[in-house]
């Protein structure tokens, strides 16, 4: 039997250890941000946002990249948001507990864990070669849409689960049909949670690089797209291209693009966390 004093000392040591581990993790996050900022901030000027990529590092910019990110994200949102929410509604409100439903559920949790690059290969095979959509904005948007679909489905279901059954029963008792209950009650009440999930899903899609490389994103685009069938590049691809060059000046561009990218994703995540907090606080059943 270890003496009480020593056991208490171990306890205190563990608290210190966990403090140290937390500090270490946050220090990594901090040094990541600092290394980006130190390298990248000097390059962040207006010209950087309105210039096309270039062979000369100091003239290169991210115009085609951020326009590409914006257009690809629009396609992704149009595809994934309605389908994801409706699928979540089905699984939570309609589906009876049977074999097919449980297959769909297991399948969704597996899809959430499939490496993103595998989605890219699937999109290359189906969208590019079977459906001949080309290496276009449409293909990219569809690919990322399928990739984030499981996230939207899961968060939608979680949001719906927080609505008490009594709300639904009250509406049914007044003669509302299933769809009326959902349209007028369940969906509006769970909107906060659903939106949070949508934001998180889109912020994940903004940072995705690997699947877009496999479907053939271009790294050098010196024009703006005129339709969704045009070739594309996006911010992470542009950053990847600059990181993989040996010259120091391009690394500065990469850091600057990284700041923009991280700024976007962290803002979206912070917004989602804030919304989740607000909705949890406001709603009391």
């Amino acid at each position: 039997m270890i003496p009480l004093k020593r056991r208490k000392a171990y306890d205190a040591i563990f608290v210190w250890l966990s403090g140290l581990v937390l500090f270490f993790s946050l220090l990594t996050l901090f040094s990541l941000m600092m290394s980006l900022l130190i390298q990248g901030v000097p390059r962040l000027n207006v010209a950087f946002f309105v210039s096309f990529p270039s062979r000369f590092a100091e003239q290169a910019g991210i115009l085609s990249a951020w326009v590409g990110t914006l257009t690809v994200m629009s396609v992704t949102a149009v595809v994934a948001v309605p389908v994801g929410i409706l699928a979540g509604l089905y699984l939570e409100e309609y589906a009876s507990k049977n074999f097919l439903t449980s297959i769909i559920e297991i399948n969704i949790s597996n899809l959430a864990g499939v490496p993103s690059i595998v989605y890219g290969l699937m999109a290359l095979g189906i969208f590019v070669y079977q459906m001949h959509l080309g290496q276009s904005i449409l293909t990219a948007g569809l690919t990322l849409g399928l990739l984030v679909l499981p996230i939207i489905i899961v968060t939608t279901r979680e949001a719906l689960r927080t609505i008490p059954t009594t709300m639904r029963e009250a509406a049914y008792a007044l003669g509302a049909t299933r769809w009326q209950v959902m349209r007028d009650h369940t969906i509006p009440y769970s909107m906060g949670g659903i939106l949070t999930g949508v934001i998180i899903a889109l912020s994940r899609a903004i940072g995705e690089t690997a699947p877009l490389i496999t479907i053939g994103a271009l790294t050098f685009i010196a024009f703006l797209p005129s339709s969704i069938m045009d070739p594309f590049t996006v911010l992470p691809i542009q950053m990847f291209n600059w990181v993989s060059r040996p010259q120091e000046e391009f690394h500065q561009n990469a850091a600057a693009a990284g700041i923009v990218l991280i700024g976007l994703t962290l803002t979206m995540n912070a917004l989602a966390i804030y919304m989740r907090y607000q909705f949890r606080k406001r709603i009391k059943w």
């Binding site: 309605p82 864990g113 690059i117 095979g125 912020s203 940072g207 690997a210 990181v243 990218l261 962290l266």
Partner: protein, 304 residues
Amino acid sequence: MKFQTFNKNSKKLLCFKERLIEVGLFLCAFLSILITLGIVFILISESIPFFREVSIRDFLTDPQWTPLFFDAHYGIASLILGTMVTTFVALSFAIPLGSIIAIYLSEYASHHVRETIKPILELLSAVPTVVYGYFALLFVTPLLQKIFPELSGFNMLSAGFVMGIMIVPYVSSLCEDAMRAVPMYMREGSLAMGATKLQTSLRVIFPSAISGIVAAYILALSRAVGETMIVAIAAGMQPNLTLDPREPAQTLTAYIVQVSLGDLPHGTVGYQTIFVCGLILFLMTFVFNIFGHVMKKLTREVYE
């Protein structure tokens, strides 16, 4: 407020509309099955012609992987080893750090501290992986080179380390969920016997939540195996049959990136190799994911 009048026809119409909506919603949910079928179909149909050209024996035993060279060799072992080493490095950081944080958050931290720390940790996993790749190559590697001067510019150590840091919040939140699912009376019983918090955490809570914790580790493993950009940027693009994490090596995912960046024509054996790599990745993560979810469900069933 509109009132529905229930004559026979409008009721029929309403029923039809309800039915239509249900079918529409079902199709959306069913789409997820089609995605999986699409993945499996593409990976297999592109891999079959490859295995007509290359014998399974060469594929498994050849030490070299040079599909794009004139003298082509198709030995998958070096890529799989690259994936295993980076994954091992990542998990040897992510699992201990994540578990310690989880025990702290679940057993020690006050409600307020927990609610502050968790969102900040979540930001770690929100950083795009390409940014982590930049960080590994241009910050961590130079730093490590001060400790190990012989470390090469591309190496599996820094890629694995950064990948591990990225996975920490994933491990910690899944482990914490598992430990918090252990009912309060287990803690109270242990504390009443005179055990300290640490003893309670390590000998009562941790073993009771073990299936959930193992699930967390397996899902983290699956994450690390499929991670692409960090290793593609920081671990190098040369297949290398080595167990030494200080050396550069290519992983399965990084190889797919390398080939996709080039301009390989559709239908060649070189092109099919990326689908073969994809198939291996898919099978590995599929097994891990399913196993992980079964384990996770087990914990839930024990205490609910």
